[in-house]
């Protein structure tokens, strides 16, 4: 069933702040096997001009995807979450995410398409810090596969 086009442009309320912790960044860097010292050593991060350890580029997805859950699980939109796969992902950074950040995400539905029975939803997540400064924008393409292929 095609999704309701009137949801295009809909913006959801900002999420409660997510506080980025040094140890969470370390855990993520270890999980992807990345030994770059800027993720774990504040002095190494400072040598590159960062005020604290920074997070790997894709770290912020955990936060934006959780926020996109508002869209995915919106009963009025009616996306079948059990059939959703990740199509595309893009980030544009104003600055890297760093330890101590308190980040909020505002999700907007940018586009809804139907292609060969698949429902395709593009969600943009704008990530801001505590002072309201823009940190990163994440674009996530979600594809709900056609029921007969599931």
């Amino acid at each position: 069933m095609a999704l309701d086009q009137s949801f295009v442009g809909r913006t959801y309320p900002p999420t409660p702040p997510y506080e980025v912790g040094r140890e969470k960044i370390r855990e993520f860097a270890e999980a992807v096997g990345d030994t770059n010292p800027v993720y774990v050593d504040p002095e190494a991060a400072k040598a590159f001009g960062h005020s604290d350890v920074i997070a790997p580029p894709t770290f912020v997805f955990s936060i934006t995807f959780k926020a996109a859950g508002q869209v995915v699980r919106d009963p009025q939109l009616g996306l079948d979450y059990s059939r959703v796969v990740h199509g595309d992902q893009k980030f544009a950074y104003a600055r890297p995410v760093r330890a101590g950040d308190r980040l909020t995400v505002t999700s907007t539905i940018e586009a809804i398409k139907s292609l060969a029975g698949n429902d395709i939803v593009d969600v943009r997540g704008e990530v801001h810090d505590e002072s309201g400064e823009h940190v990163v924008t994440a674009w996530t393409k979600l594809v709900a596969r056609a029921a007969e292929e599931a």
Partner: protein, 142 residues
């Protein structure tokens, strides 16, 4: 935010040092915990097959995280990444054995941009298949 690579030192076609990243079931369990993505297709073979997959597959975001390491290791400072995007074209299939799968990543400078920025195009392969498409990063050089 200063990359250790000078803008003047690169040209279109400059290749970044390629790298291969191994991924086993244990890697996926660790990534699930760190990322909070506990979708069973990434650790439960029975579930993966029930939804039509050939076996357990890696998180797309894990592959995306590995691929950019070729760029961030080259830059030194990951904070010099301005944009990064990928398309998830094929899954990385991770068998239940000691070796798991291998993600092979290569990258080259594709365009010189303003403000000391360059576009880097990445190629990520596993089992001879392209697992990421349209994989591009814009980075600011020193």
């Amino acid at each position: 935010m200063t990359a250790k690579v000078a803008y003047e030192s690169v040209e279109v076609g400059t290749e970044l040092p390629a790298q291969s990243f191994p991924v086993t079931r244990a890697t996926l369990v660790q990534y699930a915990g760190a990322s909070g993505d506990f979708n069973p297709i990434h650790w439960n073979e029975k579930f993966a097959r029930e939804v039509g997959l050939p076996d357990v597959i890696a998180h797309g975001m894990f592959t995306m995280a590995e691929a950019i390491r070729v760029v961030t290791d080259w830059l030194g400072d990951p904070g010099a990444v301005v944009e990064y995007g990928v398309r998830f074209t094929k899954p990385v299939i991770v068998p239940n054995d000691d070796d798991g799968a291998l993600i092979e990543v290569s990258a080259k400078v594709a365009a010189l941009l303003d403000d000391k920025q360059v576009r880097v195009d990445l190629t990520a392969m596993s089992e001879g298949k392209k697992v990421l498409g349209m994989s591009r990063a814009v980075v600011r050089l020193g």
